[in-house]
Amino acid sequence: MAPREILKIENLTTYFYTWAGVVKAVDGISLDVREGETLGLVGESGSGKSVTALSILRIVPMPGRIIGGKIIYKGENLLEKTEDEMQQIRGKEIAYISQDPATSLNPVFSIADQLTEVIRRHQNVTKEEALKKAIELFRLVEIADPEIKIWNYPHQLSGGMKQRIAIARALSCQPNLLLADEPTTNLDVTIQAQILELMKNLKKLGMSMILITHDMGVVAGVADRINVMYAGRVCEVASTKTIFRNPVHPYSRALLEAVSHVTVKRVQPKIIPGAIPNLISPPSGCRFHPRCDFAAAECAAVVPQLVEIEPEHYVACIRAKEFMENVKEVKL
């Protein structure tokens, strides 16, 4: 029996129309999130991960525009919905935790105000009931003294606390899908571990999640499947186990080598040589080929398609078959 998908993205294309040119931030990506699963969306900074999340909610900021594709949520294409219908979906069906906890809360309103506002937007409750719900949410995200902390303003709280509150706000209306955009990136290492632990616990609530990160180490223990992205395109999709044990795309392998917390042997994380390309005029063919150690001549000419090289394992690389066969030699 095929697992049911809560979200299915087909060929999503989002461009930014800037003075300097058209930034092809997300260029025809497809992915799906299954009921109850956590999908890791991994790629270096600038790969288009955040833009993908914002596209799902249709809140891509100016001058960005979604120019094509389909975003099927529970069988309906979100790109065909009206703005009013989208407002009912945002925060209620699909929630979002933004990248930087330091700036994701409005500095001039109290936490109580910002939480109850979202609760009352989507649920027909009184102010007191909303406040009660907010206090309960604080318990869920493990904040001590919720009755007192709730009256604070963002500047009175630490980064980790703000991120917990951002998570609480995202969870306030029991969304079916959570988009967590680098929820740990801008935090201290110890706090990172705590937040990650919290995210793991959230999985138990049965919610589906897209966990966005540039660090394979972060998704390792949380994600069920991983979707590797590079320069606006998907490179490889497989279960977390497969990606860690048997990565095929050279970019996935490079990312794994760059993991900061290597559990097996404590090696210095490797840095992928070169930089993510300019997305106004990206490289032809496979966008990774200029940085790829295994690039062949055709890599610059042919755009590789996602191909299922083994059950549930998709790779967009024209040499994928070859790598599969010689996995041992090509690996470290």
Partner: protein, 346 residues
């Protein structure tokens, strides 16, 4: 129900907490700062005007038959023979009793408080009308322009505002008078009232007042409009780029809540600064505006008082202007604290 009591506890905590960190302490601290500043300014102006010249000489200069003895008597009469510190202390003492002295020359010997009161009312009437309408028009235009950045509307608004800020008020004023008063004859040339009650439109004093106010207030409104539009637009653009706006949108809040609650509250912080500074600028710029429109305000009174070395009037206006600017500052600070909790709560 334990949860229910929790909510109650929480609300109780809030009430207690708010009472503790109330604005009163903040305002009191600000007020205490103002006292030394006020006296500092007073000393500077008091001393510098008294070094500017001898008003008795100026008053009697045109009279060839004045005797030295008569001059002496006048000097004594005005208390100008006393040492400066004594004059100052006497002035402060009188001021604390609500007496700013009588004028030397303007409206011959009127109490300065009456004089300044009359003229200040005209200044405020004009300037506050202009400020009110310029904010009322500029804030929505600035918001709209920012929301539709680079659209035709935005480009038109920005260009017009930039041109607007470059045209000096006296030029705008003179052109407006030439067109609407001189050529078309719709409005009076200047002044705040008709001298002759028979000229009141429909015999109404109020209509006469509005008729006189209209042209200068409109010109001033337009002069104020441009900078406020540009300020609101740029401040709004900055705020709209923030993560918390994205987060608010992502929570499904309506566009109205996102713009008029989350964005505007933050975008207004620089506007509050502007309005605070405006009060200083308004009184400093008043002489020019009031000259152009022949408006009987403090600006014009100030110029006249200085040219006649009318010490009590000069000092009186200074006291008044200083107080106004300090109060404006205080109000600005309170408005800040109201808008931005980062200032209110350490």
């Amino acid at each position: 129900m334990p949860i229910k009591t929790n909510v109650l506890q929480s609300i109780l905590y809030k009430i207690k907490h708010m009472a503790k960190s109330s604005m009163a302490k903040y305002v009191l601290r600000r007020l205490l700062y103002l006292i030394p500043i006020f006296f500092g300014i007073l000393i500077i102006v008091f001393v510098s005007t008294r070094m500017a010249g001898d008003p008795v000489k100026l008053m009697t200069g045109l009279n060839p038959r004045i005797t030295a003895e008569a001059r002496e008597r006048l000097t004594q009469y005005y208390g100008l023979d006393q040492p400066l510190y004594y004059q100052f202390l006497k002035f402060v003492w009188e001021m604390l009793h609500g007496n700013l002295g009588n004028s030397y020359a303007i409206r011959g010997g009127t109490a300065v408080t009456t004089l300044v009161g009359d003229y200040a009312w005209e200044t405020f009437k004009l300037q506050l009308t202009a400020l009110f309408f310029s904010l009322l028009i500029a804030i929505p235009i600035g918001i709209l322009s920012a929301r539709k950045q680079y659209s035709k509307l935005d480009v038109t608004v920005t260009t017009t505002s930039l041109i607007g800020t470059c045209i000096p008020i006296f030029y705008m004023g003179i052109v407006a008078i030439l067109i609407f008063s001189y050529s078309l004859g719709w409005f009076p040339y200047g002044a705040a009232h008709s001298l002759d009650p028979s000229r009141y439109p429909f015999g109404s004093y109020l209509l006469d007042e509005l008729w006189h106010l209209f042209l200068p207030a409109t010109v001033l409104t337009f002069a104020e409009l441009a900078p406020v539009v540009l300020l609101v637009r740029s401040s709004m653009l900055e705020v709209l780029r923030q993560d918390y706006i994205l987060a608010a949108r992502a929570s499904g809040l309506s566009e109205r809540t996102v713009i008029y609650k989350h964005a505007l509250r933050n975008a207004l912080i620089p506007v509050v600064t502007y309005v605070g500074l405006y009060f200083g600028g308004m009184l400093a710029g008043a002489p020019i505006t009031e000259k152009v429109f022949n408006w009987p305000g403090v600006g014009r009174l100030y110029v006249e008082a200085i040219s006649k070395l009318d010490f009590p009037v000069i000092t009186g206006i200074t006291v008044f202007v200083t107080l106004m600017v300090l109060i404006a500052n205080l109000v600005t600070d309170i408005a800040y604290a109201y808008i931005d909790p980062r200032i209110r709560i350490e």
